[in-house]
């Protein structure tokens, strides 16, 4: 679960991770008040969306006086911000962060994440801060420092020093960095984060270390023990159809094609998308109803996909192991009747009680096409949309 910069900075303050003075504003009037409360100009106005690359995309601007605050806030609020991470469709800006301007001496990059390969927490740091770190990682990987922390031992003193010395951090500011990094690690572990990124981490001209940006992603599987963090979820940043699907424990991702698909199991769902593409059509979604989906889940899956105007045909691919084909077929019949489906539906079913399942679908008198296997299903669905 991603959160906004302003929320992440609020959490940083609770963990004594130094950030600049700032507050969030939902209107230009609030932005002006926030700027005046900061007590000095310039201030920085930052569009709040769940995507990086805001600076390059034009979502971060400096305001030198109250008039500029009003102009910039007015321009940001309601605008569709496109960055390299939002995709071409962009994101609507609904709030801005108003922050005290800083005089920057040096910029660094700092992040913590779970490293799948070593099964440790990895601290990544670089002197090349403030810019696209993925480009740095790809072109000059030697410029990225990596320190691996054993989650059972926690972060060690020598590891704090290692990050500091290898970054070439100036001696007078070193202690500030150790404190920041230790607190950041504590925050990461205590809040079940999957990513905490500060880009840039700055050293100001007066020698203060500050997290100038804050990007935090939490492990969705761990939110059961963080009810307070759950309140930070912003549904405006999520696809409404995906929000609806999540209510029924459906794994759904909205895509751009026109073939809706319903599959049991994530791996098979991905493979089904690939098969649709191979046959010359494009998937409209990823939809995993779960290895052992219930009739109710199937019905909701159907309803959500039918509500998508770009869907011109539906491919259902079920390998019934735990999920029995007869139960699935009943779910499809109920859903089809309730939703009054008019577009072509191709069904490929295999596994436990497949013959009874097919019988139920045939008896229901619905407009369905059966496919004998995956290749047949792909050919039939492509023919239906092309």
């Amino acid at each position: 679960m991603k959160i906004h910069e302003y929320q992440a900075k609020e959490l940083f303050r609770q963990y004594n991770i130094p950030v600049a003075q700032s507050s969030v504003a939902f209107s230009k009037e609030e932005a002006l008040k926030a700027a005046i409360d900061l007590g000095a100009f310039p201030v920085v106005i930052k569009a709040q969306i769940h995507a990086g690359g805001r600076g390059k995309g034009g979502g971060v601007k400096l305001a030198a006086n109250p008039d500029q605050v009003l102009t910039i806030a007015d321009q940001f609020l309601g605008m569709n911000l496109v960055t390299h991470q939002t995709g071409p469709e962009g994101r609507i800006v609904r709030k801005v962060l108003v922050e005290a301007g800083q005089s920057i001496d040096k910029e660094f990059y700092l992040s913590l994440l779970v490293d799948r390969q070593t099964e440790k927490i990895v601290i990544m740091a670089s002197q090349a801060g403030g810019i696209d770190i993925e480009a740095v990682a790809e072109k000059t990987p030697e410029k990225i420092i990596k320190v691996y922390v054993d989650p059972l031992l926690g972060i060690q003193g020598y590891q704090l020093r290692e990050v500091g010395f290898r970054l070439g951090f100036p001696a007078p500011a070193m202690k500030q960095l150790y404190g920041l990094l230790f607190n950041l690690y504590t925050f990461f572990m205590e809040s079940d984060a999957s990513l905490v990124e500060i880009n840039p981490l700055i050293l100001t001209s007066v020698g203060t270390v500050l997290a100038l940006d804050a990007k935090v992603d939490f492990d969705s599987n761990a939110l059961f023990r963080h009810k307070d963090l759950l309140a930070l979820r912003d549904l405006d940043e999520e696809d409404p159809m995906e929000v609806e699907a999540s209510k029924y424990n459906l794994n759904y991702v909205n895509l751009t094609g026109n073939v809706g698909n319903i599959v049991n199991g994530a791996g098979l769902a991905m493979a089904t998308m690939d098969i649709i593409k191979n046959a010359g059509a494009t998937p409209a979604n990823f939809m995993d109803v779960g290895g052992g989906a219930s009739a109710e889940q199937v019905e909701n899956a159907f309803r959500i996909i039918l509500a998508d105007p770009k869907v011109k045909a539906i491919l259902i691919n079920i390998f019934g192991g735990i999920l029995r084909c007869d139960i699935f077929a009943r779910g499809v019949v109920d859903a089809a009747k309730k939703t009054g489906v008019t577009i072509p539906v191709v069904i490929r079913m295999e596994g436990t009680n497949v013959d009874q399942g097919k019988q139920i679908l045939t008896d229901a008198g619905l407009n369905l096409t059966f496919a004998s296997d995956l290749s047949d299903a792909a050919a039939k669905i492509a023919a239906a949309v092309n």
Binding site: Q85, V114, R116, Q117, E119, K120, I121, E134, A137, E138, D150, P151, L152, M189, D192, S194, D219, S220, N221, A222, F224, R225, N251, V253, L255, V263, N264, G265, A266, G267, L268, A269, M270, A271, M273, D274, I275, I276, K277, N278, T282, P283, F286, D288, G291, G292, F319, G320, G321, I322, E350, G351, T352, D373, L374, S375, D376, A377, A378
Partner: protein
């Protein structure tokens, strides 16, 4: 032979009285797995069908000699259940539970490094040696005894592959789902090494997905250490970057973890690539030269 499980495996089930636990424990019994005990704290002394229930894994091990565990407890208790099994001396821990927090798994993995037990999963369908032992949620009857080893990151996709193998006349030595989480117990390389050493296994099918770099590492291992033919498949070639495709581990981050890179790694390392899942049975038949 086979790998990791066989007719001598004695299974206990953690979370045996839950809805999922009891359902699948019964299916394992029906398949012929020797289920010797169930664990549900507070229900020790009771029975589920003919299976005795214990409060603690250590009691069950002492009284039944259980060698393997199948875990069905809810995700908040997953890490605890794995550590309990490890501390009780269980040699093979198969965790079906989906949704265990990644930091819990990270601690479990670093702890298990000090132990000799093997963990399969979490978030996996389990392991089966056809006609001998089924530990997990896979449909038993699609499997057939034979010489093909199957290792996969997913569930139903594995059933699809196994079904095609069986229909094309190729039985399996052992089939293992290693799970769709970013941090898991047994990885591709562990299984590939075991299949290479197993004299019953004549060919291997490896089913991967987008996300992480486990497939790339496994491909390099195949080139270096395997003499048996390997067929590989990758799911998620059409998945967009940055979106989690159901499995917590199935996400392309930045430029790493893409399907294209994994397919390339397969090709570069002598793995026979199947690009059309509908034809994997046929491709295996050709590669493994089954008549």
């Amino acid at each position: 032979m086979s790998i990791f499980v066989n007719k001598d495996t004695k299974l206990l089930v953690q979370g045996i009285t839950g809805k999922e636990g009891s359902f699948h424990a019964r299916h394992c019994v029906t398949y012929g797995t020797n289920v010797v005990a169930g664990i549900t704290p507070g229900k020790g002394g009771q029975k589920m069908d003919d299976v005795p229930i214990f409060d603690m894994v250590s009691q069950a091990v002492a009284e039944t000699g259980a060698t393997a565990s199948m875990i069905f407890v809810p995700p908040p208790f997953g890490a605890d259940a794995i550590i309990e099994a490890a501390d009780a001396g269980i040699g093979l821990i198969v965790t079906i539970t989906e949704g265990i927090p990644i930091l819990d798994m990270l601690k479990v993995k670093n702890y298990l490094a000090t132990k000799t037990c093997r963990l399969i999963g979490p978030n996996c369908p389990g392991i089966i040696t056809p006609d001998e032992c089924k530990i997990g949620i896979m449909p038993g009857k699609i499997h057939k005894k034979g010489g093909i080893g199957v290792v996969s990151r997913s569930g139903t996709l594995t059933y699809e592959v196994v079904d095609q193998l069986t229909k094309a006349g190729m039985g399996q030595s052992t089939c293992i789902g290693i799970g769709g989480d970013p941090v898991n117990g047994t990885n591709f390389i562990d299984v590939l090494a075991a299949f290479e050493a197993d004299d019953e296994t004549t060919g291997i099918v490896m089913v991967g997905e987008i996300g992480g770099s486990a497939e790339e590492e496994a491909a390099a291992y195949v080139q270096k250490h395997l003499t048996k033919p390997v067929v590989g498949f990758i799911a998620g070639l059409t998945a967009p970057p940055g979106r989690r495709m159901g499995h917590a581990g199935a996400i392309i981050s930045g430029t790493s973890g893409t399907g294209a890179a994994k397919i390339q790694a397969f090709r570069d390392n002598g793995i026979h690539v199947c690009e059309n899942l509908g034809k994997i049975g046929q491709i295996c038949k050709d590669v493994f030269r089954v008549t």
